[in-house]
């Protein structure tokens, strides 16, 4: 049984807490948030203790795993605190805000002998796992050119923390790091990054980036990140190889659409497309981690995977800023 404390009681904190609460071999034991009300509210739901300070939590509660779901720029502080206390760590993506911090995180966790699990959840999205498996099985032959796209409206976190680009890294780090990790999983090491984007353009609640990645394997990938889309979330992927092409769009993968007539005062009805799966990818991801901790096996996502994804994101930001391609050592 893994005893888990969640730090950060926002959108992701709630999602992770819910997953642990349903897991047979995990137990949610505490919630921590600088906003004690937020911590208390989530803690009450599962009848566990709430803390505003992580150090008091770690000294007062017996914890095996600390799960960090706070704004990105604060990840490194919690990684340090948890590693110092000898706790295993799950950390929401991006692992940290900078490559330097990510390298430090990898090193201190190794020295402390604790597991550091970067929560790159895309690997547990069934469509992305299916595409990965098809690609590595040679379904499109040798992969040559890939395109991914991830679009939504601008995210509104607690106190609008995403809007501070310095803290969130904007769309080119925060959002499409999902795709960087998935592309690395499929195609290996990235050697060159070129990007254009709005990271430094100071347009309120708008960000957009077009990133070109060149892999050691020769694959060229085009990664779009869009935080300026009024129409809701869309993800698309296509991979072309010597023997074929695979393509996916979240707008097509919709097995259920419910349309309701207008009620009462409303003028128009609502249409809600749904793509239900029996297990949430977040549950599957955290279940994998908990099972690894229970059996002492290595999780499928390594600390280095988390670090490399941040390195690509940071290179993209640097390329946006300098207008130059960035070579990765």
């Amino acid at each position: 049984m893994q005893r888990v404390a969640v730090v950060g009681a926002g959108t992701m904190g709630r999602t992770h807490a819910d997953a642990y609460a349903r897991m047979p071999n995990a137990e949610l034991v505490a919630v921590c948030d600088v906003k004690i009300d937020a911590a208390q509210q989530l803690a009450d739901k599962y009848s566990v203790r709430a803390f505003a300070d992580v150090r008091s939590m770690l000294s007062e509660v017996d914890v095996d795993l600390v799960d960090i779901c706070t704004p990105t720029h604060t990840h490194i502080d919690y990684i340090k605190a948890a590693a110092a206390a000898g706790k295993h760590i799950c950390c929401e993506k991006p692992l940290t805000r900078t490559t330097g911090q990510a390298m430090e995180a990898v090193r201190i966790c190794e020295e402390a002998g604790v597991v550091l699990f970067p929560a790159q959840v895309l690997r547990w999205f069934p469509e992305f796992r299916k595409m990965h498996d098809l690609i590595v099985s040679g379904a499109v032959g040798t992969p040559v050119v890939a395109r991914t796209s991830r679009c939504s409206a601008y995210p509104r976190g607690t106190d609008d923390w995403f809007a501070d680009m310095k803290n969130s890294g904007g769309v080119a780090l925060d959002m499409i790091i999902h795709d960087y990790d998935w592309l690395r999983w499929c195609f290996g090491k990235v050697k060159r990054v070129y990007a254009r984007g709005l990271y430094e353009s100071n347009i309120p609640l708008t960000d957009y980036a077009l990133v070109t990645l060149r892999f050691d394997s020769g694959v060229i990938a085009h990664v779009e990140g869009n935080w300026a889309r009024p129409g809701g979330f869309v993800a698309t992927v296509e991979v072309a190889g010597t023997d074929g092409l695979l393509s996916y769009s979240s707008t097509d993968a919709v097995p259920l659409t419910i349309e309701l007539k207008a009620k009462g005062e409303e003028k128009v009805g609502v249409t809600v497309p749904e793509s239900p799966v029996s297990q949430s990818p977040y549950y599957l991801e955290l279940e994998h981690l908990v099972n690894c901790l229970e059996t002492g096996t290595k999780p499928e996502v390594s600390p280095e995977d988390g670090l490399e994804a941040v390195r690509i994101g940071e290179a993209a930001l640097k390329s946006i800023s300098t207008g130059q391609p960035i070579a990765l050592a």
């Binding site: 040798t142 040559v144 050119v145 395109r147 679009c151 060159r192 070129y194 254009r196 984007g197 709005l198 353009s201 347009i203 708008t206 957009y208 077009l210 070109t212 060149r214 020769g218 060229i220 085009h222 779009e224 869009n226 300026a228 889309r229 009024p230 129409g231 072309a240 190889g241 010597t242 023997d243 074929g244 092409l245 207008g323 130059q324 391609p325």
Partner: protein, 332 residues
Amino acid sequence: MAEPKTVKIGIMSFAHMHAHGYASCLKRLPNVEFVGIADDDPSRAKQMAEQYGVLAFDTYEQMLASDIDAVIVTSENAKHRRHVALAAQSEKHVLCEKPLATTKQDAEAIVEVVRRSKIKFMMAFPCRFHPAFKRLLESVTSGDLGKVLAMKGTNQGQCPGGWFTDLRLAGGGAVIDHTVHLVDLMRVLTKAEPARVYAEVDNRLFGGEFDDTGIITVEFTNKVFATIDSSWSRPKTYPFWGNVNLEVIGTQGVAKMEMFAQKIDLYSDKTGKHTYEYWGDDVNLALIDSFARSVAEDRAVEITGDDGLKALEVALAAYESAKSREPVDLLA
């Protein structure tokens, strides 16, 4: 109102498959008379002339000496310069297939030959005439989308094979073939010129001498940035030849154009294939109509040689950038 004058048109070379599309439009347009065909390969000229019920000329010179008003040049890219010069000598107006040429030198020479002559010269960028693009342009121009910030385009297709993969005749592979359409549409939308180009280009789909894969980033003089995917990445089993897609990101919204989305899905046991049967507007019809009207009414053409040159420059800069692994400044 007086009936517009009928414009007599010949086709110079059927090397480019678009000649077929143009030929069928010439037959359909009321203000145009499709006179005949000349070709480097006289037997092809004969065969095509028979197919379309027009005259076959033994040589380009013979066709140009006839009473035609204009020609459509659909020869291999590298031959455009020679064929345009021939037509200009005989004072025949020209509608020229894209890309304008295979080198900047040839492209500039074409623009110069046209400038010194009295002929009208129009670039065949038919995508400008698609109603979806016109609506997109309207929406951008009216300010609906706010200030344009970025664009994302794809002109992915199946590998056409033949001389398109012969560097001497085509000037390159997928990048020179497919980049120019989107550069042209983007120039029209942003009303700005390409200033900087970066590209990753490779040949790993077919492993030939020619490039088959290209992701090109273009920055415009007004800071708008864009990417173009010009890869021949649609496999042989793909239901259609390819696509022309363009997304525009503005401060007030986003727009997405899929030019050939007006289609019927056909699953045929006869052919063993799934195909997209396109039913939208035939953009070639509007292109040739525009050209014929410019000739008949002695008006300026809608798409100039300079437009062709500007688009070509981006494709050529993409090759240069891919080689140097550096962005290339076009205005330097």
